[in-house]
């Protein structure tokens, strides 16, 4: 099941990348980032069956980082919503060139 898992992980990651490029709603972009993180987790778990338990430990750390990232990111979205009354990323283009 290793190759199948890695292929599934590749497809999920690609769906996440396409979602980040396609959507303008900041919350949905965050969800796509979560999909990408989960795709990587799937690859880690599939490989951990052959390489060793370390893959599962790494997934544990990825989950911790994902939780912290989601909390801070959603707080940023709330702060932006206060400012612009919208979560459309077309509104915040200060750093755009």
């Amino acid at each position: 099941m290793l190759t199948e898992s890695l292929l599934l992980s590749a497809f999920l990651f690609t769906i996440g990348v396409a979602g980040v490029l396609l959507r303008r709603n900041a919350i949905i972009i965050f969800m796509c980032i979560e999909i990408m993180l989960n795709a990587v987790n799937l690859a880690f778990i599939a490989l951990s069956r052959y390489v060793g338990i370390e893959g599962q430990i790494f997934v544990f750390f990825v989950m911790v980082v994902a939780a912290a990232e989601a909390a801070v990111g959603l707080a940023i979205i709330i702060a932006i919503f206060r400012h612009y009354e919208s979560v459309d990323i077309q509104n915040f283009n200060l750093l755009r060139w």
């Binding site: 190759t3 590749a10 909390a71």
Partner: protein
């Protein structure tokens, strides 16, 4: 049976991830993200990572996804939402990037075949034996609290910083 379950949950994860990207309503996106995460938890069980599967349900579905739904509710995004899918040029860019990425990743997966063939001695059986010897949680916990103790303790600092940062960013300005 395993192949059937893998196909079922893998297809479910892919299909609902696709709906997350295409659904217009953010609440629908969040709920389909739940289906994706749950299907991935089932896949983790199939891949001998029962502890991670439970963590996935508790941390991702129980905490992160609820946080997403909570923010959607707080910002009142569940209805009267504006369609936010980008116009055609962006769709072509997304499709092109996606296609290139899938091809590249599919090529990158090829060495995994030789890895599986070379694994032989340390195949899935070694992991299952380890889990039977130490328990499903113990197999993860023992290295976590010995070899990876310092990173583990550092995550507590990361989470503390995350809590403080989230509070600071989301609180109302009083000035």
């Amino acid at each position: 049976m395993e192949t059937f379950l893998f196909t079922l949950f893998g297809g479910l994860a892919l299909a609902s991830a696709f709906v997350v990207v295409t659904a217009r309503n953010p609440v629908a996106s969040a709920l389909f993200l739940l289906v994706t995460l749950a299907a991935l938890a089932a896949l983790f069980v199939l891949l001998d990572a029962q502890f991670i599967a439970v963590l996935q349900v508790i941390v991702y579905i129980g905490a992160i996804l609820v946080l997403f739904l909570f923010v959607i509710m707080l910002l009142n995004l569940g209805y009267a939402y504006r369609p936010d899918v980008r116009p055609l040029p962006w769709r072509l860019v997304a499709g092109g990037v996606g296609l290139a990425l899938v091809i590249q990743l599919a090529i990158a997966v090829q060495p995994a075949r030789s890895l599986r063939e070379a694994a032989g001695t340390t195949g899935p059986e070694a992991l299952v034996a380890l889990q039977q010897a130490k328990g499903v949680v113990g197999a993860v916990a023992e290295p976590l609290f010995s070899d990876y103790l310092v990173p583990f303790e550092l995550t507590s600092i990361l989470l503390l910083v995350g809590i403080v940062g989230a509070l600071l960013l989301a609180k109302r300005r009083l000035d």
